[in-house]
């Protein structure tokens, strides 16, 4: 589905943000990208989306090299409040990308209804984004991405601005969505628990300039549960493994 080869990006000659990143994403996988704050995860995601042209390396989406924004891709941003359009309703927000797709208006309406159902927001169609809570707004953003029927869903720290309860609900929602629609998901996060809980595979990035420290196969059985899965030995081991990798460089610096 997605193949990244030797990606490297520098904002300015002295500002190398990502170096030599290579990885693949298979169709239907959920892959998380974790790393310390400021290590360039967002840069990587924007490059994958085609919003940013990397200074080096190639990105291939469905076999074709990414130049500009490819078709069949949707993003959910961290700042749901700024990504949803405040001057139109929930329905209006979801409908906007669909307007420019070659589908009939009946199909459009059907998709809106379905996507709202998938995120448990049926009946909220005529509300404005500011009338909803943070968690609900992010769900609208997810519904908007779903209605678009992308092959690949990119999520940039989507739950970082939400409280723990909401985060747990939305994590389960993402897993359910993947099962229901078979979308491939690439998720950037700084929350290690979240990455292990949700994904099939976790890509661990180093400090800036970031490179891949490791790719960890999670291998936990599905369906997963917030309480039970997180209590298993296997979860705790994977989690520590990744945490060690991320925290180790900090420890090294503290000893200088």
């Amino acid at each position: 589905m997605l193949s990244v080869e030797r990606l490297h990006h520098a904002y300015a000659p002295e500002q190398l943000v990502a170096a030599n990143i290579t990885f693949d994403v298979k169709p239907g996988e959920i892959v998380s990208i974790v790393g310390p704050s400021g290590c360039g995860k967002t840069t990587l995601l924007k490059a994958l989306a085609g919003l940013l042209k990397p200074t080096g390396g190639t990105i291939r989406f469905q076999g074709k090299v990414v130049q500009g924004i490819p078709d069949g891709l949707a993003i959910v941003f961290q700042e749901y409040g700024r990504s949803l359009l405040p001057w139109t309703t929930v329905n209006g927000n979801i409908e906007l990308p669909l307007r420019y797709q070659p589908i009939t208006s009946a199909e459009c309406r059907r998709r809106i209804v379905e996507s709202l159902k998938a995120v448990n927001l049926t009946g909220c169609g005529e509300l404005y984004p500011w009338q909803l809570s943070g968690g609900m707004q992010q769900r609208v953003a997810i519904a908007r991405a779903l209605a678009y029927q992308p092959k690949l869903l990119l999520m940039d720290e989507p739950f970082a601005s939400l409280d723990a309860q909401t985060r747990a609900d939305l994590e389960d929602l993402v897993a359910a969505v993947r099962d229901q629609f078979g979308i491939t998901i690439v998720l950037v996060t700084h929350d290690i628990d979240e990455s292990v809980y949700l994904s099939d595979r976790v890509i661990v990035l180093s400090h800036s300039p970031s490179s891949i420290l490791a790719q960890v196969n999670v291998g936990l059985p599905r369906p997963r549960d917030q309480i039970q899965t997180k209590a298993t030995q296997q979860f705790v081991e994977k989690r520590s493994e990744i945490a060690q990798m991320i925290r180790r460089p900090v420890g090294r610096e503290a000893h200088r």
């Binding site: 949707a74 405040p86 001057w87 307007r99 404005y128």
Partner: protein
Amino acid sequence: MSTEGIGIDRWHPHAFNAIQSLAVRYGLGIALIIVWEYAARKAGSIFFPPPSEILHRAVTLWLSGPPSRLFLSGSVFQDVIPSLLRLLGGWALAVLVGVPFGILIGRSRSLSDFLNPALQFLRAIPGPALIPVFIILLGTESTMRVTLIAFGCVWPILLNTIEGTRTVDPVQLDTVKAFRIPRHARLWRIVLPAAMPKIFAGMRVSLSLAVILMVVSELAASTSGIGYRIQNAQIMFLLTDMWCGIVLLALIGYTLNWLFLKFEKRVLGWHRGARGRTATS
């Protein structure tokens, strides 16, 4: 929210609250008018006639016409309405020119940076300083007035539109780019609505500027209009007439502003809601 008192609040709480809020809102204004009335009568200065006299004169001037014309007298149709039409015409012209150009210029960061000094200069020219220029070029009739008002009002609208177009939230732009929404749709459905609050702010500033320019253009070499009437009254030492004109202008300025705010509330309801939310959450 007093709960003491003679108990009216207990019997008719709604009425009591209503009276209380009315008193608070209008009490000071009414008190000032009463004080003015009393002081003016006592002092007897011709420069400050008492409000009752002003009201009386205003009725004679403007409300002494036939019932078929809503009791409005001829001078309303001769002076007041043409002034208002010029004002609104000039302002509307400024909006029609300022908003599209503002969006065009604002979309290009380098173009708007490049044009900014010239626009700041043009905006800073005090309207009255241009009256002689406009009179010499365009005569003393309505064309000159409307053009002057439009010229003065276009700059705040233009500059605010440019600013609004430039500061569209980059997250919103990224979102619509990612969903591959075509360029023309991006302009119409994202840039324009996002810039609306600032555009409306510019329109509001321009509206009060339009009133000022209308008055100023009529105080200089004109033969009709509210400003002309005020100046005429000054020359003929008809102080009460002059005050009538001033009060009328106050009412016009206030009403136009109030109407515009109502209009803004309807169109930008989403903006208030969204901002109110971020303020409290």
